[in-house]
């Protein structure tokens, strides 16, 4: 029955069916007061139902170009993808395996053991997004959602100052200097990071629901970093089915945000052990049902004494790893101290 497809409550659907309205075409030429009388509901509710019913009968008769509204052909998307700029991570090796950096319109999940540098990477991206486009950023603001309390403002200032020094050094070499960018001080980087602290899962869900309205008012936000996305869902959740529903709903909303406002969404995740094939593996938290909620996944891991980033899931990038280091200046390339020749 077609009225089952309308996004209204089950009680209203039941009333529609028992009054005889089982197909959407019957609703198309009805007035709200008539419907309200028939169903014995308020006129506002009737108006709501009629607004949800799609407008039938307007078949596209314009011959050649039969595109359903909202669709894009793969050819147009190819050109759009080529124009999309990416956010640098300040480590050239990681940027290379990512094809230039973290891309917009996609949800990227970064996971790793504690201490590997996830929060550092999150802070680095929140600073880098504010750089002008020719320096690898997007000239926009950042939203940082902190669920664990691991955001240290002093560290952000330190990373911002290092970024500022690098930018000055580069600008001294190149002749084109935008007057606006030179005027940026390290403290300005702090101003452009919008910080939210979340203390429970309900707050987290409420915030993500609110982000749609918030970002439509702050259109220059170009990245949303959530550190970490799974923290509040891991402890004390009795109803597992509810947890799955909430998480998948949250994942869809974040995807929609990324696509609608053309920004990058970066989710930082913890790891847990999983028992499979007779042994324990380290795997990202929240299990299989969450693992499909991101477009790209990067796993950070230790290899001996060095930190590595590995692309675990991506629709268009090859699986590759790259080393990186966490320095006082932020995330940088790994300068190996090893004197042995590396085999390529």
């Amino acid at each position: 029955m077609e009225v089952g497809r309308l996004p209204i409550s089950a009680a209203l659907k039941g009333k529609l069916v028992s009054a005889g309205y089982t197909s959407l075409s019957l609703l198309s030429s009805l007035s709200p007061s008539h419907l309200a009388r028939d169903l014995n509901i308020s006129e506002n509710e009737a108006l709501d139902i009629l607004n949800h019913a799609p407008h039938d009968g307007r078949i596209d008769t314009s011959g050649g170009h039969h595109i359903i509204s909202g669709a894009q052909t793969a050819w147009d998307m190819l050109h759009e993808e080529e124009l999309l700029t990416r956010i640098t991570t300040s480590s050239v090796d990681i940027d290379n395996i990512l094809g230039g950096g973290i891309s917009c319109r996609e949800v990227t999940e970064i996971g790793g053991v504690p201490g590997i540098g996830k929060t550092q990477l999150g802070i680095q991206l929140a600073v880098n997004v504010q750089l002008p486009v020719h320096c690898g950023g997007l000239g926009g603001k950042a939203i940082y959602i902190d669920t664990e309390g691991s955001f240290m403002v002093e560290r952000v200032l330190q990373i911002a100052e290092a970024c500022w020094d690098d930018m000055l050094a580069n600008n001294a070499i190149s002749q084109n200097v935008h007057a606006g960018q030179v005027g940026m001080q390290p403290k300005d980087f702090l101003e452009n990071i919008l910080y939210f602290r979340v203390c429970s899962y309900t707050e987290q869900i409420a915030l993500i629901n609110y982000l749609d309205k918030f970002i439509s008012e702050h259109r220059d936000v170009k990245i949303v970093v959530v550190d970490s996305i799974t923290f509040h869902f891991r402890q004390d959740f009795e109803d597992m089915a509810l947890r799955t529903r909430l998480l998948s709903g949250m994942a869809l909303k974040l995807m929609k945000l990324a696509k609608k406002f053309c920004l990058a969404v970066v989710l930082l995740n913890q790891v847990t052990t999983k028992y499979a094939e007779g042994s324990f593996h380290l795997t990202l938290a929240l299990g299989d049902s969450w693992s499909h909620a991101c477009t790209n996944r990067i796993i950070l891991y230790w290899n001996g004494n060095e930190r590595y980033a590995y692309i675990d899931k991506s629709p268009s990038l090859r699986s590759a790893s790259a080393p990186y280091a966490v320095t006082a200046r932020g995330i940088r390339n790994n300068v190996s101290n090893c004197k042995r020749i590396k085999l390529m």
């Binding site: 089952g4 359903i68 190819l78 996609e106 693992s291």
Partner: protein
């Protein structure tokens, strides 16, 4: 089920006299008409002064009801339809084509389940490229996770058309890529809207030209649309899942499309992953496949869980190149 009052505008023979005649016997809607005893109604009508008009009205309502169900088909009609219309579409992947005896069959809904990063999206993109290029058909790609990558499609098309690693001509590439349409949907109601629009578009094409261009619908992944609504109090989630699948099956059968949907997996007994969405989902797709990837390589394993005409349990390996 319209009320008789509403039918009056279309069929003036169902005038207020007839309506009050029916109302006296407790018949207000077409549904009541079907439930009540027709023979006693006819007998009553014959005793009325305007019995001829009433008989005509009763026949009119019965005629309307008859026009609403699908036409009866016999085995010969079905066989003809299958041979003429329901061909297989090659997926571009030899191992998969071998397992499915040719590829995805038009008119059937195929489910591809697999754990994360097991190659489901890659397979969907490869199939989309192959169908667009080899079968010259339109592809509708419904993407729920922003994972449609036009660059990857272009790479696949280059591989398929010129294996000697030359570049494809831009004009040909443009034509093929223009036949792949991508929608981003983030909740199940938007997906219904998209399918609804698609249905009207296909109806219009068949009306004008007798055949439609589209060959394949891919939904990647349908499980991320269904999981937020499944399992809450009340069975609305399951009802939406079933009605989504029945709409897809209807589109597949009437317009000779192949439908490919992807599903994720959850932990099952003994740690072996099993497809998500539960027991009631298992009966819905026609063909069910389980995909897995050998760790860190390009080799994929697929096994057949359910198929209308091939024994389940068969497996195959294939490689998707970068």
């Amino acid at each position: 089920m319209a009320s008789l009052k509403r039918l009056e505008t279309e069929f003036p023979i169902l005038d207020p006299d007839f309506q009050s005649f029916c109302a006296l016997r407790g018949i207000f809607t077409v549904q009541d008409f079907l439930i009540r005893d027709l023979q006693s109604l006819v007998a009553d009508a014959e005793q009325q002064p305007s019995s001829e008009r009433f008989m005509q009205a009763i026949n009119q309502v019965l005629y309307v009801i008859d026009g609403l169900h699908q036409p009866w088909l016999n085995g010969v009609d079905l066989m003809e339809d299958a041979q003429k219309n329901k061909h297989v579409l090659s997926t571009g992947c030899e191992g998969m084509d071998f397992l499915l005896r040719g590829g995805l069959r038009r008119g059937q809904v195929t489910e591809l389940a697999g754990p994360s990063s097991s190659g489901k999206t890659q397979f969907c993109l490869l199939t989309a490229s192959t169908v667009a290029y080899k079968h010259m058909g339109g592809v509708i790609y419904i993407d729920t996770g922003n994972s449609f990558s036009a660059k990857r499609i272009a790479r696949f098309l280059n591989q398929i058309s010129c294996p000697a690693s030359e570049e494809m001509q831009p004009r040909v590439l443009q034509e093929v890529m223009n036949s792949i349409l991508c929608h981003s949907v983030y909740d199940i109601f938007s997906m219904f809207d998209v399918l609804h629009c698609l249905e009207s578009k296909l109806k219009y094409q068949v009306m004008c030209r007798g055949d439609n261009d589209e060959r394949l619908i891919i939904i990647d992944s349908i499980s991320s649309l269904i999981t937020p609504i499944l399992g809450s109090s009340g069975s609305q989630g399951r009802a939406l899942m079933v009605s989504a699948m029945s709409l897809l099956k209807k589109l597949a059968h009437e317009y000779n499309l192949a439908v490919l949907v992807t599903n994720h997996t959850v932990g099952g007994d003994g740690g072996i992953p099993k497809p998500a969405l539960g027991e009631s989902w298992k009966t819905l797709p026609h063909v069910r496949l389980l995909l897995s990837r050998d760790c860190g390589s390009n080799t994929y394993q697929v096994s057949l869980l359910k198929h209308p005409s091939i024994a389940s349990g068969k497996a195959a390996k294939f490689i998707i190149n970068d």
